[in-house]
């Protein structure tokens, strides 16, 4: 006999809420066991996967994780590398040897590669328990960002913005003709025609707001069709 589960899949729960009774379920991320109950320790959406209950958070700051691709801003240049702000409580270090695929000699002028204020797409190679973060620039797609604009979104909504196998971000790229890079830390870089950029930003904000709703891809598709359709019409009138 299965024990009582007190919530449905995809329910929104709040901290302290009882999720299940009895020992038949296992507490996953965002939950904890107290006596024979499983309770929520975060606000979010319940995900019941056979016997494991976890919570997908709806809000919160970015906590660095190994192998995440993030967008960071150079805030300091030191002897041995660059310090980056990665939109988290902790700054990250990009060491000289990981700074570029080309060889950087010791004592070289590091600002020659990345200046203060530059935005970089980089990958987290290591995070310690004390949240010291190491980055690398060696890898496919990792680069310095030029032009375009950077926007910030809730890092927990990033998976929805990317979509399954990048379906959502591809959809936006195609509809708006923008170059888009989404960092796991909630920073997004966009580049395209000014009007297109505005539309892409609007779409991303819409996804962020409705991230917890079902059938999101469909409604975004509709939204983009409408917006791009309108634009073509008004261009037609202009001619």
């Amino acid at each position: 006999m299965m024990a009582n589960i007190l919530v449905k899949n995809r329910d929104i729960v709040v901290p302290g809420e009882e999720l299940a009774k009895g020992m038949d379920y296992l507490p996953g991320f965002g939950t904890y066991r107290i006596n024979d109950e499983i309770r929520a320790s975060r606000m979010g959406i319940v995900n019941v996967d056979s016997r494991a209950i976890k919570i997908i958070p709806l809000s919160g700051g970015y906590l660095p994780k190994k192998n995440d691709v993030v967008i960071g801003k150079v805030i300091d240049v030191t002897f041995s590398g660059w310090r980056l702000d990665i939109n988290s409580a902790y700054t990250a270090m990009l060491m000289m040897k990981d700074g570029s695929s080309e060889y950087i000699a010791r004592g070289a002028d590091l600002t020659h590669y990345y200046q203060l204020g530059n935005y970089l797409v980089c990958k987290i190679t290591n995070v310690t328990t004390q949240k010291l973060v190491d980055l690398t620039m060696k890898g496919p797609g990792l680069k310095k960002l030029r032009d375009g604009r950077i926007i910030k979104v809730n890092p927990f909504k990033v998976p929805r913005i990317i979509g399954k196998q990048g379906s959502m971000v591809t959809l936006i790229k195609q509809a708006t003709n923008c170059g888009i890079v989404v960092g796991q830390n909630g920073l997004i870089w966009l580049q395209g025609n000014p009007e297109d950029e505005v539309l892409a930003v609007k779409t991303i904000k819409k996804i962020e707001e409705e991230a917890h709703c079902q059938g999101l891809t469909e409604s975004i598709k509709k939204f983009l069709d409408k917006e791009t359709g309108n634009k073509k019409e008004s261009e037609g009138k202009g001619e």
């Binding site: 709040v14 809420e17 904890y32 107290i34 975060r42 606000m43 709806l58 809000s59 700051g61």
Partner: protein
Amino acid sequence: MKMGYDKRSDNRKFDETRPIEAKAGVIPNAQGSAFFKIGNTAAYAAVYGPRDLYPKFLQDPGQGLLRCHYNMMPFAGMGDRVRPGSNRRSKEISMVTEKAIIPVVDLSQCPNAVVDVFIELPQTDAGSRCAGICAASIALADAGVPMRDMVSAVAVGRVDDKILVDLEYKEEAYDEGPVADIPVAMIPSTGEITLLQMDGEISKEQLMQAFELAKAACKKINEKQRNALKEKYVRKGDDNEQ
């Protein structure tokens, strides 16, 4: 001569709180925020962080720090204008608020960082620290801070011969008999008490009675806090359907 305290000014029952209104996500720039109103006492709470903590000597490499700031606005009081800025009273309340909330939050995942909670009271009519704690709990949950429960708080006490819940200013200032004002904060899931203060005098039996009232009232308040958070997302879901 009048005998005892037999009727509350707003015709409430002795074990009834004032009307409660709670809302999550009211300050867009904050990581998480909440509004909590009980009768004429209103509190806003805004949460920022986890973020860098300076000065550096305050940093704790073992776990993150929770900092609460309680502030009454100049026009918020029942009597004279409150002098703006921090004072001895607000410092003490900031401290007890912090200690009331710290048992539920888990900041082990953010060493050396801080979570700041700012509590602003635009209008008060007694019970402001309790309203502040309730608002802060909702705001912390809204900010996505890991926490095992939301703290609920309410003032109980005695006015003359009666034990009552959620005292208003007039009752605190009752001068025809003894009064006790006891703010209580509770973790509803376990019944642990995280804040207990008292101003006045009360017997042991009366105190135990008052606790029972506090327990029931906190359960009710916790329900409101939970609904406030859920409503935030239901609201947005509705927009989507239109």
